[in-house]
């Protein structure tokens, strides 16, 4: 039971980071119908930007905020430079563009930061673990969780209560109708990329704090895919729950199944879950089936 609790709580904490990245993924899909396969590289870039700021001696929280700002700018720039020329082209072509983008971004990161693992020095969070009952949790995990939750709340309230948030959802629902009300679809797409970049950047930074930072952090992007599918591609709450569930499942699989396998269960398990979910609930848990009234 203790082992279970330990794995479960760690899973939730890591899952919150997945949720953050999944949110970015969902957002772009929701607004423009594009599966952004460069999501992992967005996390990579964000993480490296943050660590650069941090190593310049900027306090971590401030560095994180700067990362958000840079992410916002990069997101808008990416949309304008690479995605906007593709407006009106088939979705598959746009997805191929994101594949290209992922290699491009990876190349840029290797060019500027090399391939060696770097860690945040001095460590941002104290190393002493925290005890929650009998469960031991590293402070890094706890703070990563707090940061993710704050950011998730911020994004969700943005969608619920601000003018542009509502208009983004409206555009996702019915672009033509949104256009007829004077919503500028270009701004909506740019905002979607900006927010995705911001969320991914913070997700990457937090993960970098846990494991150290190298090119493999980019695989997080793909790892989050099961979370997105589980939640149902275009549901923001779905992405968040999906992220948490995948985090938990991954940790449970690691704890209980690893001893019986040559290793790697942790990475495979989320995808196995994804396949099963797709078999029984093709739209995910909260995905949009077009609302049909009979």
């Amino acid at each position: 039971m203790e082992l279970f609790l330990q794995l479960f709580i760690t899973g939730i904490l890591v899952g919150s980071i997945y949720a953050l990245v999944a949110l970015g993924w969902t957002l772009i899909y929701k607004c423009s119908g594009v599966l952004n396969l460069a999501m992992g590289e967005l996390t990579l870039i964000g993480a490296y930007v943050c660590i650069t700021f941090y190593h310049w001696g900027i306090p971590f929280v401030l560095a994180l905020i700067f990362t958000l700002v840079v992410g916002f700018a990069l997101g808008i720039l990416t949309e304008i430079l690479f995605l906007r020329p593709m407006v009106g082209e088939p979705v598959l072509s746009v997805i191929m563009v994101t594949v290209g983008l992922s290699f491009f971004f990876k190349g840029i990161v290797e060019l500027f930061f090399g391939t060696d693992t770097v860690v945040f020095t001095p460590t941002v969070f104290p190393i002493e673990p925290v005890y929650i009952g009998k469960v031991v949790v590293g402070q890094v995990y706890l703070w990563a969780f707090v940061a993710s939750i704050i950011l998730l709340l911020a994004f969700v309230s943005f969608f619920k209560y601000t003018k542009w948030g509502l208009s983004m959802q409206a555009t996702a629902d019915d672009e033509m109708a949104a256009l007829s009300l004077g919503v500028n679809a270009k701004v909506v797409y740019a905002l979607a990329w900006a927010i995705a970049f911001m969320a991914a950047g913070v997700g990457g930074t937090l993960l970098g704090n846990i494991n150290g930072l190298n090119i493999s952090v980019g695989y997080l992007g793909l790892l989050v895919l099961p979370a997105v599918v589980l939640g149902g591609m275009n549901s923001v709450p779905g992405a968040i729950v999906g992220g948490l569930v995948i985090g938990v499942l991954q940790n449970l699989a690691d704890g209980y199944l690893s001893p019986f396998t040559p290793g790697g269960v942790k990475d495979v398990f989320p995808f196995a879950v994804m396949v099963i979910v797709l078999l029984f609930k093709p739209y995910g848990l909260w995905g949009w089936i077009r609302i049909e009234r009979v």
Binding site: S167, V183, I291, R293
Partner: protein, 275 residues
């Protein structure tokens, strides 16, 4: 085209012999001229595929998002040429189209739908005021305000869509088939509200409608489109008397009684309007 629009006191929207082409090859409108007077209601009639919706989209600028463009003629709104502007710019000038088919934002609540309508400007208190105004005209929406718009009834969806455009404080509203797929009682309710809006808020309307009888009752002046061409326009009174309209659109015989379905011969028009 012999008849001039008798409503001479100020034209808010003027379509000047416009031509619309899709995908740079398909000519959909071949010279359409329409005048909408300040505070007036004008109906646009015609069979399926006549180009009614295209005309509205040309005015609202949505055409550009369907790879169509105005290739000839001009559209003037309050004296300004607008046919080269983007949909957003046109909306900023106060023209709002209500697209055919009750296009609510299904996954937003009714009230959130209305709020999106106020996208262009309006601070918190102004939006609240306008919400009150919309709920005043559509009291049915009050109790449905927190329901997802995808789940409310068809009539309520149509009300949401009209209310949404109302939130934008339109200077001109383009209505595309507000009666489509609704029960007769609901159609009456919605058209009553539309006429009220026109009278009390002084919003000019350009109304596309398949229900010709209804359209001619609501609008004092109407244009008839066929195959992308304007074939006649007149006051509704005179159009109701016109034998072609009576025969072809209203299904009435010369003496005014309703024809039986067997007698209606769609292929046998008295004369071709265009030769």
């Amino acid at each position: 085209m012999a008849l001039e629009n008798p409503d001479t006191h100020g034209i808010i929207l003027k379509l000047n012999n416009i031509e619309v082409m899709y995908h740079e090859v398909i000519l959909v409108l071949k010279g359409v001229s329409i005048d909408v007077p300040h505070g007036g209601i004008v109906a646009l009639l015609g069979a399926n595929g006549a180009g009614k919706s295209t005309t509205l989209k040309a005015i609202s600028g949505l055409l550009k998002h369907e790879d169509g463009e105005v290739t000839d003629g001009s559209i003037e709104f309050m004296g300004e040429r607008i046919h080269h502007l983007s949909a957003e710019e046109i909306a900023k000038r106060g023209i709002f189209q209500i697209i055919e088919g009750r296009r609510v934002f299904e996954h937003l609540t009714v009230e959130e739908n209305l709020r999106v309508g106020a996208h262009l400007g309006g601070n918190g208190s102004a939006i609240k005021e306008r919400l009150e105004m919309v709920y005043h005209y559509f009291p049915r929406l009050v109790e449905r305000r927190n329901v997802l718009a995808g789940f409310v009834s068809g009539g309520e969806q149509q009300m949401t869509v009209i209310g949404r455009a109302l939130m934008a404080q339109p200077k001109l509203m383009l209505l595309d088939e507000p009666s489509m797929g609704l029960a007769p009682l609901l159609i009456k309710e919605i058209f009553d509200i539309i006429t009220q809006l026109n009278k009390q808020e002084r919003i000019p309307l350009l109304l596309v409608e398949q229900n010709v009888k209804l359209a001619l009752t609501v609008a004092p002046y109407a244009y008839v489109l066929e195959n992308g061409r304007l074939v006649m326009h007149d006051t509704s009174e005179k159009l109701k008397e016109n034998p072609d309209i009576r025969d072809f659109y209203l299904g009435l015989s010369d003496i005014g009684e309703r024809k039986s379905f067997r007698q209606v011969k769609h292929y046998k028009r008295r004369k071709r309007w265009l030769t």
